[in-house]
Subunit: 351 residues, 2 copies
Amino acid sequence: MLEGLILSIDAMGGDAAPAIVINGIEKFLKSTGQGRAARFMLHGDETQIKTLLKKAPLTAARCEIMHTGDVIAMDAKPSFAMRRGKGTSMWNAVESVKNGDALVAVSAGNTGALMAMSKLLLRTKEGVQRPAIAARWPHQQGFGVVLDVGANLDCDANQLREFAVLGEAYYRALYKKERPSIGLLNVGTEDKKGNAIVQAAHDSLSCSKLDLNYVGFVEGNDISMGDVDVIVTDGFTGNVALKTAEGAARLVGTFTKEALQGNLWSKLSSALNFVALKKLNEKADPRTGNGGVFLGLNGIVIKSHGGTDALGFSNALAVAIELADSTFLDEIERTLEALHDEDESLDIALK
Amino acid sequence: MLEGLILSIDAMGGDAAPAIVINGIEKFLKSTGQGRAARFMLHGDETQIKTLLKKAPLTAARCEIMHTGDVIAMDAKPSFAMRRGKGTSMWNAVESVKNGDALVAVSAGNTGALMAMSKLLLRTKEGVQRPAIAARWPHQQGFGVVLDVGANLDCDANQLREFAVLGEAYYRALYKKERPSIGLLNVGTEDKKGNAIVQAAHDSLSCSKLDLNYVGFVEGNDISMGDVDVIVTDGFTGNVALKTAEGAARLVGTFTKEALQGNLWSKLSSALNFVALKKLNEKADPRTGNGGVFLGLNGIVIKSHGGTDALGFSNALAVAIELADSTFLDEIERTLEALHDEDESLDIALK
């Protein structure tokens, strides 16, 4: 039996699993995870995992294989995953958290299936309407957190307010900042801007006596500026914004590459500039932000990008271990309780 | 009196008006507008404009000043603009289009005020529920068109379908492509993805017998790829996406600059690479995409970015002249008529 801080891993999830998973753990243990007492439950095909472990000695020394031959396909429907998912590597990875055998589950598998299983097995935290997916977003000074990025396409004002609480606790746990700032994504920063839903969420967050550092409306360009730590939005807008930003960043990257390889001079100078450009690539690398977190469940589930590689998976593990090491589940509970007490006293005052 | 193709200009709109406006026209006449028979009605303060015209001989030879001392403030509310806007440079610029004295109005002033006045003076085209704002979006191969980017925050399926028709005609007029492709922005490309509104719009666009080149759902990252010409979305999502992309592009630009000025080697090689980097800046320059168009009105109104400079304003004029020279207002009318005929025959079939 494993002891200490245990991460439950879906070894078969992801386009290039199980290789990226095992190599990702190995990379993690060599870099950010060095010296951390983390151990790993590997759910998946024993034969394949054992072969990979031969070249991953650090992982081999800190893991236990939980064999299953069943896997959820990357394009499986969430409904199928619910009905037929039992016993798959993904299911078992989440179930280990439910049973208390592990603190966090990590999977690079199908997002919809993972969310469906997580809700079924872990249940939504009391006071939370529906869980959200939070993404880390690179900016000038480091990282911001944006939620929801796709779990809830239509959200009402109460949900947006809950996202503020969930995102704030998550940011605090991950970046150890006492009072992270929270902004509500809108088409302008003036108080009167936006549709009825963001207006209502803005009013209730502005009036709240909770100790939230709510700074008001923010616009799309503010996300990359890094002036606000937590950006709250509905899952439709958040998903489109995240993917649009990825596309725009890639476009500028392509333009840069073209410019720097256009002629002999530029090729020569790019060669001289090798180190600087390498640093740039690292900074703008989308893999550094890998690791979306499901917030609002009775347990921690991390979703790694399905197309990620070992480096990306190791970054998702870094998020997992920060959260496992924190008290953020308890904090969410406390803040949500206060939020709902506030609602009730407001209801009474209105009667 | 001016003759020929006449553009009506709000000379006082924009953070740095009237200087950027007059200098923008001059720049336009020296570059893309060279040889075009365009003439300009300049609405605004005669004294200020005359002073600027001394250094803008090409503009001076092709313009007429329509004096007014009244200006709409950059932060005026649309309701104020409607009540008190009459006689301002913005109002008069739009009114000249209404009266048939000019083919297009261009303003870098307050967006909300310009839209309010345009609707009041020009009226919405028959069959259009509400006008939309279309933005040009740089991508790998050139430009795409995204709409709505802020005029209609909540849209139903019928509006999204109208945006498809409006955007398609606009793209055709601007880029002379026979059958531009149209995509509907969503959180995934599979048929079953998305909320009820995009689902309904998708169904009716897919079933339509109109000769639209509708390719189905697209995701945020597809906008910068350039595989689809016209991207349709509601004004809330479109506005957030546009600003988020600007922010992400600027962030990568900052990272690049930092990387290329980090040490002596990189400084030296950047100097060698001067021409390549200059080309890059031009390509990634947000001013090249300047010039949002109000679609769905009985007349053409172009909104230049309020904070733009002379180069940006000249790019908005390039859009203006392409549209003025085209038959796109008639085409919109024809396609919308066919769309609504289709609706009626569907209604009859259902009865």
